[in-house]
């Protein structure tokens, strides 16, 4: 019943919004017409009425389409239930199913149960030996459906399911679902985790996921869909789970193309950055002995500015990756001391041109860590960049790194600048969030902390902040020593690739001739 209530609530909310919008249109246009165009009252009234009618007509067309779609899918399903029916059934466009996914999933589950019972009766009556599952109602539902037993073995798949995966039904039946569907979820709220939870607790449960990604073999394009799972422990046939997929490949892969646009834009930005970097180097090399102190400090500032722009460009790319779940880490064995000192070196010029000193207190011989060198250095750049930006008149930044009590490698960056007001501390790690008061005084986009958190989360570390207004802030984060990485993470480790701050070098030899 919850799904009905949810649908009803969505309906109420939408109609309420439309009502308000309509009132706004009427009164707004009345106001504009009488104040700015000096129209007569009755003429204004008629014009506003006309606009309102136009608006209502649009709603009249859109609303039924939206809310009748779940019903339409079920209606076709039920029509097809009639074995004598020879009617033509138009293909249902699942992309248009915007509301009521859970409801449809739930109802399909219920109908499926009824169909099992009906088929049992049919079997008794007709004593048929053929596999009746091919006659199940689910065969006719125009959505990919997988029915599993409590070992997650596929007991039934409809033809839409097989076609969707580009496989034959026989390729799928009897296989473990995870060997057929290599599902990728946007969080650790996965099918597997949910099943573990419901198996111990409940008899019946329903759950939906959005933007599930499925990589197929043989150069098939990646599929994207929303998925509803219906779990029913008490099913006498041992069918304990029904998965229904709602394809959104077109829509979600357009999001993928959005990242390609970002990639092109970044390419265009990086070309002049590369050149500027090169020319600055040539000039500082050739002129280093002939520049006045002022000009040589300008040269350093120019280089620091170029680096800052480069960091920003990389940040945009990272945000696009994070938002489309394409943040891929390449974990390797790394010396934390070398990563940290290299990152500090690379950003020290930016501190120097502002007269800021880095004071470092880094334990020697920290254990090897398992990290993505380039990503984790971006975290350090962003935290140091923030510390520099928010240092105000203070000229000290303290960087510490040590093995903490939990056995993690902890790094802290402390500045003595303006600090962060308490009321915004909780929102710091969200995208585009910046302190309102600081906005006018300090440049920046508020992307750095969002990216840092995503990267640290992906490394299974923690990131936090302590701050007092006008006294400064300390940002800290942990990374895991290599031997504490989970097995899954260790599987990601690729020791053939040697990373450094500028790229990677392949250690492999077997492609060489």
């Amino acid at each position: 019943m919850d799904d009905f209530k949810k649908l009803a609530r969505i309906y109420k909310n939408i109609t309420f919004i439309f009502l308000i919008l309509n009132l706004l249109i009427i009164f707004g246009s009345l106001y504009i017409e009488s104040h700015f165009f000096n129209l007569s009252f009755y003429f204004s009234l008629a014009l506003s009425g006309l606009m309102s009618v136009l608006f209502l007509t649009i709603i009249y067309i859109v609303l039924p389409k939206l809310f009748l779609k779940p019903l339409e899918i079920l209606w076709y399903t039920i029509l097809k239930l009639n074995p004598d029916s020879n009617s033509y059934f138009p293909k249902v466009d699942q992309d248009k199913l915007k509301v009521g996914k859970e409801l449809v999933g739930n109802l399909i589950g219920q109908i499926y149960k009824i169909a099992i019972v009906a088929n049992q009766d049919l079997m008794k009556v007709e004593q048929q030996k053929t596999d009746l599952s091919s006659e199940f109602l689910a065969t006719r539902i125009p959505l990919p459906i997988f029915v599993l037993d409590n070992q997650e073995t596929v007991k039934f798949v409809n033809k839409y399911g097989a076609t969707y995966l580009g496989l034959e039904i026989t390729d799928i039946l009897g296989k473990n679902i995870y060997s057929i569907l290599d599902l990728a979820f946007s969080s650790d709220d996965t099918l597997d985790n949910w099943l573990k939870e419901v198996k111990n607790k409940t008899a019946i449960s329903i759950k939906s996921w959005e933007r599930v990604k499925l990589n197929l073999q043989n150069n098939h394009p990646t599929l994207y869909f929303d998925m509803v799972a219906y779990y029913n422990l008490g099913n006498s046939q041992g069918y304990s789970l029904i998965l229904t997929l709602f394809d959104h490949t077109k829509q979600y892969s357009e999001d993928d193309q959005a990242i390609s646009f970002v990639a092109i834009a970044i390419h265009e930005l990086r070309t002049p950055l590369t050149l500027l970097k090169g020319y600055i180097e040539v000039f500082s090399e050739e002129l280093k002995d002939n520049l006045t102190p002022e000009l040589s400090s300008f040269m350093e500032k120019m280089k620091a500015t170029n680096d800052q722009l480069n960091l920003f460009v990389n940040n945009i790319l990272n945000v696009a990756r994070i938002d489309s779940d394409q943040m891929e880490l390449k974990l390797t064995h790394q010396s934390w001391n070398s990563i940290l000192s290299e990152a500090i070196d690379n950003i020290s010029l930016r501190a120097k041109v502002r007269g800021i000193n880095f004071e470092t207190d880094i334990e020697q011989n920290l254990p090897e860590v398992g990290v993505d060198r380039i990503s984790i250095q971006e975290v350090i750049y962003n935290l140091l960049d923030n510390a520099i930006k928010y240092s105000k008149d203070s000229k000290r930044i303290i960087i510490k790194s040590f093995l903490n009590k939990e056995g993690y490698v902890e790094t802290t960056i402390q500045d003595f600048g303006r600090g962060i007001p308490e009321n915004i501390m909780g929102k710091l790690f969200t995208k585009f969030y910046r302190d309102y008061h600081n906005r006018s005084q300090v440049g920046g986009t508020g992307l750095g902390l969002y990216i840092s958190k995503a990267i640290i989360d992906a490394h299974q570390g923690n990131i936090w902040v302590k701050s007092k207004q006008n006294e400064g802030s300390t940002f800290g984060f942990t990374v895991l020593p290599f031997n504490l990485l989970s097995k899954d993470q260790k599987d990601l480790v690729n020791d053939e690739i040697v990373q450094n701050a500028h790229g990677w070098i392949n250690n492999h030899s077997y492609y060489r001739r």
């Binding site: 970044i266 390419h267 990086r270 070309t271 970097k277 180097e281 480069n310 891929e328 500028h502 790229g503």
Partner: protein, 129 residues
């Protein structure tokens, strides 16, 4: 005057942005490399196949044939003209995951041009063994 060193290494720079080619040539020449720059994909592939080079810097976005296609042709197991040069992908374009994985299998190194100065590039190349 800078002392020009020589290390007898021949390097082919496949790069269609003329100014970048110019900057790289300058830094590489100073460090003793013999440099040739080519901006066109098809011409670049032919030049690679002469197998006269120790290192190839390969930009991915070049006219007439992409760097990725060149990489695939050079590393095609059935090729009759294997190339011994180390192939270093130099790009400013972010790749899709599938392409990244292919590049990892086939190239010897990978770098984002905007992250390196020409001198840092020379240092990087000295680490490619």
């Amino acid at each position: 005057m800078e002392q020009e060193q020589t290390n007898n290494k021949k390097i082919l720079v496949i790069e269609d942005e003329h100014f970048i080619g110019e900057l790289y040539t300058r830094a590489l020449n100073k460090n003793g490399y013999t440099v040739k720059v080519i901006a066109d994909g098809i011409e670049a592939l032919k030049e690679c196949q002469t197998d006269r080079y120790d290192l190839i810097l390969l930009d991915l976005m070049i006219p007439n044939m992409t760097g990725f296609e060149i990489l695939n042709k050079l590393k095609d197991p059935s090729t009759t003209s294997p190339v011994h040069a180390k192939i270093i992908i130099t790009t400013n374009l972010e790749q899709r995951d599938e392409i990244k994985k292919e590049i990892e299998k086939k190239a010897d190194a990978y770098l984002i041009k905007a992250n390196l100065t020409p001198n840092e590039l020379v240092d990087f190349l000295s680490q490619v063994k």
